[in-house]
Protein backbone atom coordinates (compact mmCIF):
# COMPACT_ATOMS: atom_id res chain seq x y z
CA UNK A 1 0.00 0.00 0.00
CA UNK A 2 1.20 3.46 -0.94
CA UNK A 3 0.63 6.19 1.61
CA UNK A 4 -2.69 7.76 0.67
CA UNK A 5 -2.74 10.28 3.51
CA UNK A 6 -3.83 13.57 2.07
CA UNK A 7 -2.98 16.94 3.55
CA UNK A 8 -5.37 19.67 2.54
CA UNK A 9 -4.16 22.81 4.32
CA UNK A 10 -5.50 22.58 7.87
CA UNK A 11 -7.12 19.21 7.22
CA UNK A 12 -5.60 15.74 6.93
CA UNK A 13 -7.64 12.93 5.35
CA UNK A 14 -6.87 9.25 5.18
CA UNK A 15 -7.13 9.28 1.42
CA UNK A 16 -7.87 11.81 -1.31
CA UNK A 17 -11.30 10.53 -2.38
CA UNK A 18 -14.56 12.16 -1.29
CA UNK A 19 -18.14 11.95 -2.40
CA UNK A 20 -19.43 14.99 -4.27
CA UNK A 21 -22.13 16.95 -2.48
CA UNK A 22 -25.65 15.98 -3.50
CA UNK A 23 -24.73 12.60 -4.92
CA UNK A 24 -24.26 10.67 -1.69
CA UNK A 25 -27.13 12.06 0.35
CA UNK A 26 -26.08 12.27 4.01
CA UNK A 27 -24.03 9.08 3.91
CA UNK A 28 -26.86 7.30 5.71
CA UNK A 29 -28.39 6.12 2.44
CA UNK A 30 -25.24 4.13 1.62
CA UNK A 31 -24.57 2.77 5.10
CA UNK A 32 -25.43 -0.79 4.09
CA UNK A 33 -23.08 -0.64 1.13
CA UNK A 34 -19.79 -0.10 2.95
CA UNK A 35 -18.09 1.39 5.97
CA UNK A 36 -18.09 5.14 5.40
CA UNK A 37 -14.75 5.39 7.19
CA UNK A 38 -13.17 4.00 4.04
CA UNK A 39 -13.80 7.29 2.29
CA UNK A 40 -11.45 10.26 2.44
CA UNK A 41 -14.52 12.23 3.45
CA UNK A 42 -18.28 12.18 3.10
CA UNK A 43 -19.44 15.49 1.67
CA UNK A 44 -23.12 15.84 2.43
CA UNK A 45 -25.90 17.39 0.37
CA UNK A 46 -26.16 21.20 0.71
CA UNK A 47 -27.50 22.42 4.04
CA UNK A 48 -29.31 25.73 4.49
CA UNK A 49 -30.46 27.40 7.70
CA UNK A 50 -34.04 26.46 6.74
CA UNK A 51 -35.73 23.32 5.42
CA UNK A 52 -36.36 23.47 1.71
CA UNK A 53 -38.69 21.68 -0.70
CA UNK A 54 -36.47 22.05 -3.70
CA UNK A 55 -37.69 22.36 -7.27
CA UNK A 56 -40.73 20.89 -9.00
CA UNK A 57 -40.34 17.63 -10.93
CA UNK A 58 -38.99 16.39 -13.30
CA UNK A 59 -35.70 17.31 -11.69
CA UNK A 60 -33.31 15.22 -13.71
CA UNK A 61 -32.82 14.29 -17.33
CA UNK A 62 -30.30 11.93 -18.76
CA UNK A 63 -28.13 13.29 -21.56
CA UNK A 64 -25.24 11.85 -23.52
CA UNK A 65 -22.56 10.75 -21.06
CA UNK A 66 -24.05 12.78 -18.30
CA UNK A 67 -27.16 14.13 -16.67
CA UNK A 68 -28.89 17.40 -15.96
CA UNK A 69 -30.23 18.05 -12.49
CA UNK A 70 -32.21 20.79 -10.89
CA UNK A 71 -32.93 19.27 -7.52
CA UNK A 72 -33.03 22.78 -6.16
CA UNK A 73 -31.34 21.92 -2.90
CA UNK A 74 -34.12 20.03 -1.16
CA UNK A 75 -33.03 19.50 2.41
CA UNK A 76 -33.95 19.30 6.08
CA UNK A 77 -32.36 22.58 7.17
CA UNK A 78 -29.55 22.90 9.69
CA UNK A 79 -31.61 22.17 12.83
CA UNK A 80 -32.88 18.84 11.67
CA UNK A 81 -29.49 18.11 10.10
CA UNK A 82 -27.81 18.47 13.48
CA UNK A 83 -30.35 16.40 15.35
CA UNK A 84 -32.16 14.02 12.99
CA UNK A 85 -31.26 10.34 13.22
CA UNK A 86 -30.33 9.95 9.60
CA UNK A 87 -28.14 13.07 9.49
CA UNK A 88 -25.26 14.35 11.61
CA UNK A 89 -25.85 12.12 14.65
CA UNK A 90 -25.60 9.10 12.37
CA UNK A 91 -22.45 10.46 10.71
CA UNK A 92 -20.81 11.22 14.04
CA UNK A 93 -21.49 7.70 15.21
CA UNK A 94 -20.16 6.27 11.94
CA UNK A 95 -16.73 7.75 12.53
CA UNK A 96 -16.54 9.09 8.96
CA UNK A 97 -14.80 12.35 8.13
CA UNK A 98 -17.59 14.77 7.27
CA UNK A 99 -17.59 17.88 5.14
CA UNK A 100 -20.79 19.88 5.23
CA UNK A 101 -21.78 21.65 2.05
CA UNK A 102 -23.68 24.86 2.88
CA UNK A 103 -25.84 27.30 0.97
CA UNK A 104 -28.34 30.07 1.41
CA UNK A 105 -30.39 32.62 -0.41
CA UNK A 106 -28.71 35.59 1.26
CA UNK A 107 -25.35 36.35 2.82
CA UNK A 108 -27.02 36.17 6.22
CA UNK A 109 -28.26 32.65 5.43
CA UNK A 110 -24.73 31.50 4.67
CA UNK A 111 -23.40 33.03 7.86
CA UNK A 112 -26.20 31.59 9.93
CA UNK A 113 -25.70 28.02 8.76
CA UNK A 114 -21.92 28.35 9.13
CA UNK A 115 -22.28 29.70 12.66
CA UNK A 116 -24.73 26.97 13.66
CA UNK A 117 -22.39 24.26 12.41
CA UNK A 118 -19.44 25.98 14.07
CA UNK A 119 -21.26 25.90 17.39
CA UNK A 120 -22.01 22.20 17.05
CA UNK A 121 -18.99 21.08 15.10
CA UNK A 122 -18.19 17.69 16.62
CA UNK A 123 -17.41 15.35 13.76
CA UNK A 124 -17.29 18.09 11.13
CA UNK A 125 -13.99 18.29 9.31
CA UNK A 126 -14.70 21.30 7.14
CA UNK A 127 -17.43 23.35 5.49
CA UNK A 128 -17.79 23.56 1.75
CA UNK A 129 -19.42 26.79 0.64
CA UNK A 130 -21.60 26.22 -2.38
CA UNK A 131 -21.70 29.56 -4.16
CA UNK A 132 -22.18 27.80 -7.40
CA UNK A 133 -25.52 26.08 -7.43
CA UNK A 134 -27.13 27.26 -10.62
CA UNK A 135 -30.62 26.29 -9.62
CA UNK A 136 -31.70 28.74 -6.99
CA UNK A 137 -32.93 31.96 -8.40
CA UNK A 138 -32.53 33.98 -5.25
CA UNK A 139 -28.85 34.77 -5.23
CA UNK A 140 -27.30 31.40 -6.01
CA UNK A 141 -26.37 32.23 -9.54
CA UNK A 142 -25.11 35.68 -8.72
CA UNK A 143 -22.87 34.60 -5.83
CA UNK A 144 -20.94 32.17 -7.98
CA UNK A 145 -20.66 34.27 -11.12
CA UNK A 146 -20.14 37.77 -9.72
CA UNK A 147 -16.78 38.49 -8.12
CA UNK A 148 -18.06 41.22 -5.78
CA UNK A 149 -20.89 39.12 -4.42
CA UNK A 150 -18.59 36.12 -4.08
CA UNK A 151 -16.13 38.19 -2.07
CA UNK A 152 -18.89 39.44 0.21
CA UNK A 153 -20.36 36.06 1.02
CA UNK A 154 -16.98 34.35 1.39
CA UNK A 155 -15.48 36.92 3.73
CA UNK A 156 -18.67 36.98 5.80
CA UNK A 157 -18.68 33.21 6.18
CA UNK A 158 -14.98 33.35 7.09
CA UNK A 159 -15.91 35.55 10.05
CA UNK A 160 -18.81 33.29 11.06
CA UNK A 161 -16.75 30.14 11.64
CA UNK A 162 -13.28 28.97 12.46
CA UNK A 163 -13.85 25.62 10.73
CA UNK A 164 -11.68 24.94 7.69
CA UNK A 165 -13.41 26.41 4.64
CA UNK A 166 -13.63 25.07 1.13
CA UNK A 167 -15.06 27.30 -1.57
CA UNK A 168 -16.82 25.41 -4.34
CA UNK A 169 -16.59 27.28 -7.61
CA UNK A 170 -19.08 27.57 -10.43
CA UNK A 171 -17.73 26.69 -13.88
CA UNK A 172 -20.20 29.04 -15.55
CA UNK A 173 -17.73 31.92 -15.70
CA UNK A 174 -15.31 33.39 -18.20
CA UNK A 175 -12.31 33.26 -15.92
CA UNK A 176 -12.32 30.63 -13.20
CA UNK A 177 -8.91 31.70 -11.85
CA UNK A 178 -10.32 35.09 -10.82
CA UNK A 179 -12.87 33.37 -8.59
CA UNK A 180 -10.24 31.09 -7.09
CA UNK A 181 -8.02 34.05 -6.23
CA UNK A 182 -11.02 35.84 -4.75
CA UNK A 183 -11.81 32.82 -2.56
CA UNK A 184 -8.26 32.61 -1.28
CA UNK A 185 -8.16 36.35 -0.61
CA UNK A 186 -11.35 35.95 1.41
CA UNK A 187 -9.78 33.30 3.61
CA UNK A 188 -10.76 30.00 2.01
CA UNK A 189 -8.44 27.18 2.97
CA UNK A 190 -9.25 25.11 -0.10
CA UNK A 191 -10.97 25.35 -3.46
CA UNK A 192 -13.26 22.69 -4.85
CA UNK A 193 -14.36 22.58 -8.47
CA UNK A 194 -16.27 22.13 -10.63
CA UNK A 195 -19.92 22.35 -9.79
CA UNK A 196 -22.32 21.54 -12.62
CA UNK A 197 -22.43 23.48 -15.88
CA UNK A 198 -25.77 25.03 -16.76
CA UNK A 199 -27.48 23.10 -19.53
CA UNK A 200 -30.86 22.39 -21.00
CA UNK A 201 -32.68 19.58 -22.77
CA UNK A 202 -35.97 19.57 -24.65
CA UNK A 203 -38.28 16.65 -25.30
CA UNK A 204 -38.98 17.02 -29.02
CA UNK A 205 -42.18 14.98 -28.78
CA UNK A 206 -43.86 17.16 -26.18
CA UNK A 207 -41.75 20.28 -26.97
CA UNK A 208 -41.34 20.80 -23.26
CA UNK A 209 -38.14 21.23 -21.26
CA UNK A 210 -37.01 17.92 -19.79
CA UNK A 211 -36.36 19.69 -16.49
CA UNK A 212 -39.27 21.53 -14.86
CA UNK A 213 -36.87 24.26 -13.80
CA UNK A 214 -36.04 24.77 -17.52
CA UNK A 215 -32.28 24.61 -17.00
CA UNK A 216 -30.28 22.15 -14.94
CA UNK A 217 -26.70 21.45 -14.05
CA UNK A 218 -24.72 19.16 -16.33
CA UNK A 219 -22.57 16.55 -14.58
CA UNK A 220 -20.87 13.30 -15.52
CA UNK A 221 -18.10 12.31 -17.95
CA UNK A 222 -19.31 14.83 -20.53
CA UNK A 223 -17.85 17.68 -18.46
CA UNK A 224 -14.55 16.10 -17.49
CA UNK A 225 -12.33 17.85 -20.06
CA UNK A 226 -13.74 21.20 -18.98
CA UNK A 227 -13.21 20.36 -15.32
CA UNK A 228 -9.63 19.23 -15.91
CA UNK A 229 -8.89 22.48 -17.73
CA UNK A 230 -10.37 24.55 -14.90
CA UNK A 231 -8.51 22.62 -12.20
CA UNK A 232 -5.31 23.24 -14.12
CA UNK A 233 -6.06 26.95 -14.48
CA UNK A 234 -6.85 27.27 -10.77
CA UNK A 235 -3.74 25.32 -9.81
CA UNK A 236 -1.68 27.85 -11.74
CA UNK A 237 -3.44 30.74 -10.02
CA UNK A 238 -3.53 29.83 -6.31
CA UNK A 239 -1.45 27.91 -3.81
CA UNK A 240 -4.19 26.40 -1.62
CA UNK A 241 -5.16 22.75 -2.08
CA UNK A 242 -7.69 21.94 -4.77
CA UNK A 243 -10.42 19.28 -4.65
CA UNK A 244 -11.13 18.30 -8.23
CA UNK A 245 -14.37 16.87 -9.54
CA UNK A 246 -16.52 16.65 -12.65
CA UNK A 247 -17.10 13.38 -14.44
CA UNK A 248 -14.79 11.14 -12.43
CA UNK A 249 -15.88 7.58 -13.22
CA UNK A 250 -12.76 5.66 -12.25
CA UNK A 251 -9.24 5.93 -10.84
CA UNK A 252 -7.76 6.97 -14.20
CA UNK A 253 -10.03 9.99 -14.25
CA UNK A 254 -9.13 10.86 -10.66
CA UNK A 255 -5.42 10.61 -11.44
CA UNK A 256 -5.91 12.92 -14.42
CA UNK A 257 -7.36 15.52 -12.02
CA UNK A 258 -4.44 15.07 -9.63
CA UNK A 259 -1.87 15.44 -12.41
CA UNK A 260 -3.65 18.66 -13.37
CA UNK A 261 -3.18 19.96 -9.83
CA UNK A 262 -5.90 18.57 -7.56
CA UNK A 263 -4.76 17.38 -4.13
CA UNK A 264 -7.97 15.44 -3.67
CA UNK A 265 -10.99 14.49 -5.75
CA UNK A 266 -14.71 13.98 -5.36
CA UNK A 267 -16.80 11.33 -7.10
CA UNK A 268 -20.34 12.44 -7.94
CA UNK A 269 -22.59 11.21 -10.72
CA UNK A 270 -20.57 8.00 -10.97
CA UNK A 271 -22.09 6.95 -7.65
CA UNK A 272 -25.49 6.65 -9.35
CA UNK A 273 -23.97 4.18 -11.78
CA UNK A 274 -22.03 2.38 -9.08
CA UNK A 275 -22.22 3.15 -5.35
CA UNK A 276 -18.82 1.51 -4.96
CA UNK A 277 -17.15 3.90 -7.42
CA UNK A 278 -15.40 5.97 -4.70
CA UNK A 279 -13.82 2.84 -3.19
CA UNK A 280 -12.71 1.65 -6.61
CA UNK A 281 -11.11 5.04 -7.19
CA UNK A 282 -9.19 4.76 -3.90
CA UNK A 283 -7.91 1.30 -4.85
CA UNK A 284 -7.01 2.42 -8.33
CA UNK A 285 -5.05 5.41 -7.11
CA UNK A 286 -3.15 3.12 -4.78
CA UNK A 287 -2.36 0.75 -7.67
CA UNK A 288 -1.17 3.60 -9.86
CA UNK A 289 1.11 4.93 -7.14
CA UNK A 290 2.59 1.49 -6.59
CA UNK A 291 3.08 0.85 -10.30
CA UNK A 292 4.82 4.19 -10.65
CA UNK A 293 6.91 3.75 -7.50
CA UNK A 294 5.36 6.74 -5.82
CA UNK A 295 5.49 6.72 -2.05
CA UNK A 296 2.68 9.18 -1.55
CA UNK A 297 -0.11 10.93 -3.37
CA UNK A 298 1.83 14.18 -3.14
CA UNK A 299 4.16 12.91 -5.84
CA UNK A 300 1.50 13.02 -8.54
CA UNK A 301 -0.22 16.28 -7.62
CA UNK A 302 0.36 18.77 -10.41
CA UNK A 303 2.86 16.36 -11.97
CA UNK A 304 1.74 17.12 -15.52
CA UNK A 305 4.80 17.18 -17.80
CA UNK A 306 4.95 20.10 -20.12
CA UNK A 307 8.36 19.67 -21.72
Amino acid sequence: MADLTTKLGPVTLKNPVMTASGTFGYGFEYKDYYDLRKLGAVVVKGIAPFPSHGNPTPRVAEVTSGMLNAIGLQGPGVDKFLTGDEYMPFLRASGADVIVNIWGKTIEDYCEVAARLDADCAGITALEINISCPNIKEGGVAFGTDLNLAAKVLSSVRKATSLPLITKLSPNVTNIADFARCAVDCGSDMISLINTITGMAIDIKTRRPKIANLTGGLSGPAIKPIAIRMVYQVAQAVKVPIIGMGGIMNADDAIEFMLAGASAVAVGTAIFADPYAPLKVIDGINDYLEQHNCKSVAEIIGALRLS
Binding site: E62, I271, F272, A273, D274
Partner: protein
Protein backbone atom coordinates in the same frame (compact mmCIF):
# COMPACT_ATOMS: atom_id res chain seq x y z
CA UNK B 1 -22.26 -4.95 -6.21
CA UNK B 2 -24.72 -7.72 -6.95
CA UNK B 3 -24.63 -9.22 -10.38
CA UNK B 4 -27.21 -11.02 -12.40
CA UNK B 5 -26.31 -13.25 -15.29
CA UNK B 6 -29.01 -13.22 -17.91
CA UNK B 7 -30.61 -16.66 -18.11
CA UNK B 8 -33.09 -15.73 -20.84
CA UNK B 9 -34.30 -12.53 -22.46
CA UNK B 10 -37.13 -12.67 -24.95
CA UNK B 11 -40.02 -10.84 -26.54
CA UNK B 12 -43.28 -11.97 -24.98
CA UNK B 13 -45.89 -9.81 -26.66
CA UNK B 14 -46.22 -6.42 -28.36
CA UNK B 15 -43.15 -4.51 -27.28
CA UNK B 16 -42.88 -6.34 -23.94
CA UNK B 17 -39.85 -8.43 -23.10
CA UNK B 18 -39.21 -10.80 -20.25
CA UNK B 19 -35.73 -11.14 -18.81
CA UNK B 20 -34.62 -13.62 -16.17
CA UNK B 21 -31.48 -12.89 -14.19
CA UNK B 22 -29.71 -15.39 -12.00
CA UNK B 23 -29.67 -13.39 -8.77
CA UNK B 24 -30.31 -15.68 -5.80
CA UNK B 25 -29.41 -13.11 -3.15
CA UNK B 26 -31.91 -10.59 -4.44
CA UNK B 27 -34.55 -13.30 -4.88
CA UNK B 28 -34.24 -14.32 -1.26
CA UNK B 29 -34.85 -10.78 -0.03
CA UNK B 30 -37.44 -9.65 -2.58
CA UNK B 31 -40.98 -8.76 -1.50
CA UNK B 32 -43.91 -7.78 -3.73
CA UNK B 33 -43.43 -4.15 -4.84
CA UNK B 34 -39.64 -4.17 -4.63
CA UNK B 35 -37.59 -3.10 -7.61
CA UNK B 36 -34.12 -3.72 -9.03
CA UNK B 37 -31.91 -1.00 -10.44
CA UNK B 38 -30.17 -2.29 -13.55
CA UNK B 39 -26.99 -1.10 -15.21
CA UNK B 40 -27.37 -1.64 -18.93
CA UNK B 41 -23.94 -2.70 -20.09
CA UNK B 42 -24.15 -2.12 -23.84
CA UNK B 43 -25.10 1.54 -23.64
CA UNK B 44 -21.77 3.14 -22.89
CA UNK B 45 -22.91 6.74 -23.45
CA UNK B 46 -25.56 6.47 -20.74
CA UNK B 47 -24.60 6.63 -17.08
CA UNK B 48 -27.79 6.01 -15.17
CA UNK B 49 -29.37 2.73 -14.19
CA UNK B 50 -32.92 1.76 -15.11
CA UNK B 51 -35.40 0.71 -12.41
CA UNK B 52 -37.70 -2.28 -12.95
CA UNK B 53 -40.24 -3.92 -10.69
CA UNK B 54 -39.46 -7.45 -9.67
CA UNK B 55 -42.15 -9.49 -11.36
CA UNK B 56 -41.26 -12.86 -9.96
CA UNK B 57 -38.58 -14.74 -8.06
CA UNK B 58 -38.07 -18.47 -8.26
CA UNK B 59 -36.61 -20.65 -5.55
CA UNK B 60 -33.66 -21.45 -7.79
CA UNK B 61 -32.60 -17.82 -7.93
CA UNK B 62 -34.20 -16.63 -11.18
CA UNK B 63 -35.33 -13.03 -10.92
CA UNK B 64 -37.90 -12.07 -13.55
CA UNK B 65 -38.53 -8.61 -14.96
CA UNK B 66 -41.11 -7.71 -17.61
CA UNK B 67 -40.23 -4.59 -19.49
CA UNK B 68 -41.51 -2.55 -22.36
CA UNK B 69 -39.14 -1.18 -25.01
CA UNK B 70 -39.76 2.53 -24.74
CA UNK B 71 -36.35 4.09 -25.27
CA UNK B 72 -32.64 3.60 -25.57
CA UNK B 73 -32.11 1.75 -22.32
CA UNK B 74 -34.86 -0.78 -22.69
CA UNK B 75 -34.01 -1.31 -26.36
CA UNK B 76 -30.38 -1.94 -25.47
CA UNK B 77 -31.48 -4.32 -22.69
CA UNK B 78 -33.60 -6.26 -25.16
CA UNK B 79 -30.46 -6.99 -27.20
CA UNK B 80 -28.44 -8.51 -24.36
CA UNK B 81 -27.81 -12.20 -24.84
CA UNK B 82 -28.09 -14.94 -22.22
CA UNK B 83 -24.76 -15.19 -20.44
CA UNK B 84 -24.32 -11.42 -20.21
CA UNK B 85 -23.70 -10.39 -16.63
CA UNK B 86 -25.53 -7.26 -15.48
CA UNK B 87 -24.87 -5.17 -12.44
CA UNK B 88 -27.99 -5.06 -10.25
CA UNK B 89 -28.86 -3.08 -7.15
CA UNK B 90 -31.70 -4.50 -5.13
CA UNK B 91 -34.13 -5.35 -3.89
CA UNK B 92 -34.85 -1.67 -3.40
CA UNK B 93 -37.76 0.41 -2.18
CA UNK B 94 -40.63 0.14 0.19
CA UNK B 95 -42.68 -2.99 -0.72
CA UNK B 96 -46.43 -3.57 -0.68
CA UNK B 97 -48.03 -4.53 2.60
CA UNK B 98 -49.22 -8.11 2.07
CA UNK B 99 -52.98 -8.66 2.43
CA UNK B 100 -54.00 -9.81 5.88
CA UNK B 101 -55.49 -13.28 6.22
CA UNK B 102 -59.05 -11.96 6.03
CA UNK B 103 -58.42 -9.48 3.24
CA UNK B 104 -59.32 -9.79 -0.41
CA UNK B 105 -56.75 -8.06 -2.66
CA UNK B 106 -58.04 -5.93 -5.51
CA UNK B 107 -55.28 -4.90 -7.94
CA UNK B 108 -55.74 -2.00 -10.29
CA UNK B 109 -53.08 -2.09 -12.96
CA UNK B 110 -52.07 -0.49 -16.19
CA UNK B 111 -49.30 -1.61 -18.53
CA UNK B 112 -46.33 -3.19 -16.75
CA UNK B 113 -48.20 -2.60 -13.45
CA UNK B 114 -49.42 -6.18 -13.76
CA UNK B 115 -45.79 -7.23 -13.35
CA UNK B 116 -45.22 -5.03 -10.32
CA UNK B 117 -48.05 -6.62 -8.34
CA UNK B 118 -47.63 -10.21 -9.53
CA UNK B 119 -45.81 -11.48 -6.46
CA UNK B 120 -48.86 -10.52 -4.39
CA UNK B 121 -50.61 -13.58 -5.85
CA UNK B 122 -48.34 -15.66 -3.65
CA UNK B 123 -49.23 -13.71 -0.54
CA UNK B 124 -52.98 -13.96 -0.73
CA UNK B 125 -54.79 -16.84 0.89
CA UNK B 126 -58.13 -15.81 -0.66
CA UNK B 127 -57.27 -15.36 -4.30
CA UNK B 128 -58.07 -11.87 -5.52
CA UNK B 129 -59.21 -9.66 -8.32
CA UNK B 130 -57.09 -7.83 -10.88
CA UNK B 131 -58.50 -4.95 -12.90
CA UNK B 132 -56.17 -4.46 -15.82
CA UNK B 133 -56.18 -1.59 -18.26
CA UNK B 134 -54.27 -1.21 -21.49
CA UNK B 135 -54.38 0.57 -24.79
CA UNK B 136 -55.19 -2.59 -26.70
CA UNK B 137 -55.65 -6.32 -26.19
CA UNK B 138 -52.02 -6.97 -27.12
CA UNK B 139 -50.83 -4.82 -24.21
CA UNK B 140 -52.58 -6.92 -21.57
CA UNK B 141 -49.90 -8.64 -19.54
CA UNK B 142 -49.94 -11.81 -17.43
CA UNK B 143 -53.70 -12.45 -17.67
CA UNK B 144 -53.26 -16.23 -17.80
CA UNK B 145 -50.68 -16.19 -15.06
CA UNK B 146 -52.97 -14.29 -12.70
CA UNK B 147 -55.83 -16.63 -13.47
CA UNK B 148 -53.61 -19.64 -12.91
CA UNK B 149 -52.74 -18.14 -9.53
CA UNK B 150 -56.41 -18.08 -8.61
CA UNK B 151 -57.13 -14.42 -9.35
CA UNK B 152 -60.12 -13.16 -11.23
CA UNK B 153 -59.12 -10.78 -14.05
CA UNK B 154 -61.31 -8.05 -15.54
CA UNK B 155 -59.90 -6.02 -18.37
CA UNK B 156 -60.46 -2.65 -19.98
CA UNK B 157 -58.92 -1.46 -23.23
CA UNK B 158 -58.99 2.00 -24.74
CA UNK B 159 -59.81 0.61 -28.15
CA UNK B 160 -62.27 -2.05 -26.99
CA UNK B 161 -60.22 -4.92 -28.40
CA UNK B 162 -60.72 -6.76 -25.13
CA UNK B 163 -63.06 -6.40 -22.16
CA UNK B 164 -64.62 -3.08 -21.26
CA UNK B 165 -63.97 -0.28 -23.72
CA UNK B 166 -62.71 2.51 -21.57
CA UNK B 167 -60.54 3.03 -18.55
CA UNK B 168 -59.54 0.64 -15.82
CA UNK B 169 -60.80 3.24 -13.35
CA UNK B 170 -64.31 2.63 -14.74
CA UNK B 171 -63.92 -0.97 -13.57
CA UNK B 172 -62.70 0.23 -10.21
CA UNK B 173 -65.78 2.45 -9.77
CA UNK B 174 -68.01 -0.51 -10.60
CA UNK B 175 -66.27 -2.77 -8.12
CA UNK B 176 -66.54 -0.20 -5.35
CA UNK B 177 -70.24 0.19 -6.05
CA UNK B 178 -71.08 -3.49 -6.46
CA UNK B 179 -68.78 -5.62 -4.36
CA UNK B 180 -69.69 -5.36 -0.74
CA UNK B 181 -69.28 -8.79 0.70
CA UNK B 182 -65.57 -8.83 1.34
CA UNK B 183 -62.91 -6.86 3.18
CA UNK B 184 -60.80 -5.31 0.47
CA UNK B 185 -57.21 -4.21 0.19
CA UNK B 186 -56.42 -2.17 -2.89
CA UNK B 187 -53.15 -2.19 -4.78
CA UNK B 188 -52.35 -0.19 -7.88
CA UNK B 189 -49.51 0.24 -10.32
CA UNK B 190 -49.43 1.80 -13.76
CA UNK B 191 -48.98 5.12 -15.50
CA UNK B 192 -49.02 8.17 -13.24
CA UNK B 193 -52.31 9.71 -14.47
CA UNK B 194 -54.09 6.40 -13.89
CA UNK B 195 -52.60 6.10 -10.40
CA UNK B 196 -53.60 9.61 -9.49
CA UNK B 197 -57.14 8.81 -10.66
CA UNK B 198 -57.14 5.64 -8.55
CA UNK B 199 -55.89 7.52 -5.50
CA UNK B 200 -58.55 10.16 -6.01
CA UNK B 201 -61.36 7.56 -6.34
CA UNK B 202 -60.14 5.81 -3.20
CA UNK B 203 -59.84 9.05 -1.25
CA UNK B 204 -63.36 10.10 -2.33
CA UNK B 205 -64.79 6.75 -1.21
CA UNK B 206 -62.90 6.92 2.09
CA UNK B 207 -60.96 3.86 1.11
CA UNK B 208 -57.25 3.42 1.13
CA UNK B 209 -54.90 1.43 -1.02
CA UNK B 210 -51.26 0.89 -1.85
CA UNK B 211 -50.03 2.71 -4.88
CA UNK B 212 -46.72 1.94 -6.58
CA UNK B 213 -45.43 4.99 -8.41
CA UNK B 214 -43.12 5.05 -11.39
CA UNK B 215 -40.95 8.14 -11.11
CA UNK B 216 -37.74 8.95 -12.91
CA UNK B 217 -34.89 7.73 -10.71
CA UNK B 218 -31.17 8.24 -10.37
CA UNK B 219 -29.58 6.78 -7.26
CA UNK B 220 -32.47 4.48 -6.28
CA UNK B 221 -31.55 4.63 -2.59
CA UNK B 222 -32.76 8.02 -1.39
CA UNK B 223 -29.56 10.00 -1.84
CA UNK B 224 -30.23 12.35 -4.73
CA UNK B 225 -33.83 13.63 -4.45
CA UNK B 226 -34.48 13.08 -8.15
CA UNK B 227 -37.54 10.89 -7.76
CA UNK B 228 -39.67 12.89 -5.37
CA UNK B 229 -43.44 12.93 -5.17
CA UNK B 230 -45.70 15.16 -3.08
CA UNK B 231 -47.07 13.55 0.07
CA UNK B 232 -49.26 15.14 2.70
CA UNK B 233 -47.22 16.70 5.47
CA UNK B 234 -47.30 19.08 8.34
CA UNK B 235 -45.68 21.93 6.43
CA UNK B 236 -47.07 25.38 5.67
CA UNK B 237 -47.95 24.10 2.18
CA UNK B 238 -49.55 20.90 3.44
CA UNK B 239 -47.11 18.69 1.55
CA UNK B 240 -43.49 17.67 1.32
CA UNK B 241 -41.49 15.93 -1.38
CA UNK B 242 -40.94 12.25 -0.50
CA UNK B 243 -38.32 10.16 -2.29
CA UNK B 244 -40.22 7.54 -4.23
CA UNK B 245 -37.22 5.21 -4.44
CA UNK B 246 -36.90 4.89 -0.69
CA UNK B 247 -40.11 6.05 0.97
CA UNK B 248 -41.86 4.51 -2.08
CA UNK B 249 -42.29 3.35 -4.77
CA UNK B 250 -45.28 2.05 -2.80
CA UNK B 251 -47.21 4.78 -0.98
CA UNK B 252 -50.50 4.56 0.80
CA UNK B 253 -53.11 6.34 -1.30
CA UNK B 254 -53.99 8.51 1.68
CA UNK B 255 -50.45 9.77 1.90
CA UNK B 256 -50.39 11.10 -1.64
CA UNK B 257 -50.99 14.81 -2.04
CA UNK B 258 -53.17 15.19 -5.12
CA UNK B 259 -52.92 18.48 -6.98
CA UNK B 260 -56.25 19.97 -7.90
Amino acid sequence: MKTGEIISNKLIQGSYFQVDFYAPEICRAARPGHFVHVQIANLTHRILRRPFSICDCSSDGALRVLYKCVGEGTTALSKLQPGTVCDLMGPLGNPFLAPAADEYPILVNGGYGAAATFMLTKESSNGGLMLLGARSASDLLLVNEYEAAGFEVRVATNDGTAGHQGLVTDLLQQVIQQETTRKWRFYACGPEPMLMAVASILQKNHLSGEISLDHLMCCGVGACFACVVKVKADTPEGWRYARSCKEGPVFNSEQLYLEK
